[in-house]
Amino acid sequence: MTRPGALNRAIVRGFSPFGGDRAARLVPQARLVGPMPWVIAIMVALTVVAAAGGLALQNMADTARAELSGGVTVQVIEAFPAARERQAGAVMEALANDAKIATYRRVPEAELDALLEPWLGVGATDATVPVPALIDVRLRGVADRAAIDDLQTRLLEIAPDARVDAQSGWLQPVFAAITSLQWLAIALVVLLALTSAAAVWLAARSALGSNRNTIEIVHLLGGTDGQIARIFQRSIGYDAVLGGVAGLAIGVAGVMVLGRQFAALGSGMMAGGGLTLPDWLMLAGIPVAGVVIAVVTARLTVLASVRRML
């Protein structure tokens, strides 16, 4: 035997129709030389990357939503600095005495200037452009329409130029984009699964063709369709395990590299895009699914073909 190894033997035993290692050689195996393990490896790697992307987007959106769920921004839009400061002070005071407010923070001017500088130029903000006073507020509950309207009404009494906005409001288009990307990832995963099945179908058919004589002999010696199918299932299952492990390794390496590059962006939004343990487990399940697809496809292909024999 030229194919030792515990894994190999386990597979041979697991799928063995005749219960012996020798029977495993019934169909000649072109291990590693044939394209099958590589095709499956590429499919699995691409699927892992696509699925990881989808999961990371999901996490990112979840984190952003959670962070923003209770968040509102109060702007005091008043051109005259003195009036602006007075209204802002009144708002701060009202917030301090409001039981529905968890935390609040006046965004310092320096911070605002820094935010606006790229757009308006250095020093431009000092006097020429009136910048609103910004207060970050976190509600105890969810910042839904009713809560925002309620706060708005109360603040208007003390600060006529105060405007309350949900922080997630400006993110809605981003969430929509993330959702489309997720659908894209799901579609990719499905397409890759179909392509893998098609590739296995072709491989099983060509294996059937080149082993037709052997199949006929086993058939005439009283081999059942199930036994004949299992010969190919085992053979393709072995290829799929090999390809799946390689594909997972390649895919995970790709995901780690991508993850590191996104992390290097240092963007607050990307920070939520990491993968959790369940995510990693799901990725690890992809090659398992690949093996199942390969084995089931091989079985159905072989059965459909041998049923034509008497």
């Binding site: 004589n213 002999i217 010696l221 009283g222 008497l310």
Partner: protein
């Protein structure tokens, strides 16, 4: 065996055509009795191989009825045919050895297909290969064997499972007369153990070598009955239960 008392195979008005050509076999009716030894003779092209294909369930007849081991094999569900095939031993005219398996594994194939535990396979296979004089070629691939050696592997594979019926298509066509006689003795030994034997041959000298044999003759797709064996059933042959 209770499920085919009196007959092991019965053909009734069987006809066979390949594609749209004329019938290769016509109006074939006969009965094979358990434990008998049959020769099927006829000129090349008479239809011997075609008849045997019907016998070893590789081919469906175009018309007529075939009963085997007490069942109508024409109407039998496909899934039940493997069980019937396992009761047959077949020596194919073109041997049909699995090319990438050793002589040993080729002979072991029927035992493994029938699910025999691996630990029980080695001894009978080795014994059988020794019997056909191939004890030195266990690991040889068919391509490295001579025609006669391949034929002996094919015969070993056909008889290894102690079948209820042995069907052999020109099994001595590639061996010298001495080996041919030895193989006939093997068939006879198997026959004495209760196996019904059907040997197709165009070699009329072979017929005389098995004294109790019955002869079926095919002529251009029609069966004749020169010894009356098919019309008048032979004496019942008792199965022996002892091992060889």
């Amino acid at each position: 065996m209770s499920d085919f008392d009196g007959e092991i195979v019965a053909f009734d008005n069987v006809g066979l055509r390949y594609g749209t050509d004329g019938e290769v076999l016509r109006d074939i009716s006969f009965t094979l009795y358990p434990g008998s030894f049959y020769f099927l003779t006829g000129a090349s092209g008479a239809g011997k191989t075609s008849l045997l294909k019907l016998l070893y369930l590789a081919q469906r007849p175009s018309r007529g009825a075939i009963r085997m081991f007490g069942s109508d094999v024409i109407t039998l569900p496909r899934a039940r045919l493997p069980a019937f095939r396992r009761r047959l031993g077949v020596v194919f005219q073109d041997f049909r050895l699995v090319p990438h398996l050793s002589a040993f594994d080729n002979v072991a194939l029927p035992l493994r297909v029938s699910g025999m535990p691996e630990s029980d396979v080695a001894k009978p296979v080795a014994d059988m290969l020794d019997w056909v004089g191939l004890s030195h070629r266990y690991e040889a691939r068919p391509a490295t064997l001579s025609g006669g050696e391949q034929q002996r592997v094919a015969i070993a594979r056909a008889v290894i499972g102690r079948p209820d019926m042995l069907v052999a298509d020109e099994p001595t066509g590639n061996v010298d007369p001495e080996m041919a006689l030895k193989l006939l003795r093997l068939f006879e030994a198997l026959n004495r153990l209760g196996t019904t034997v059907v040997v197709a041959t165009h070699d009329v000298h072979l017929l005389k070598k098995v004294p109790d044999s019955l002869i079926m003759r095919l002529d251009k797709g029609r069966l004749s009955d020169p010894t009356g064996a098919l019309r008048y059933p032979p004496r019942a042959v008792r199965r022996e239960s002892s091992a060889p």
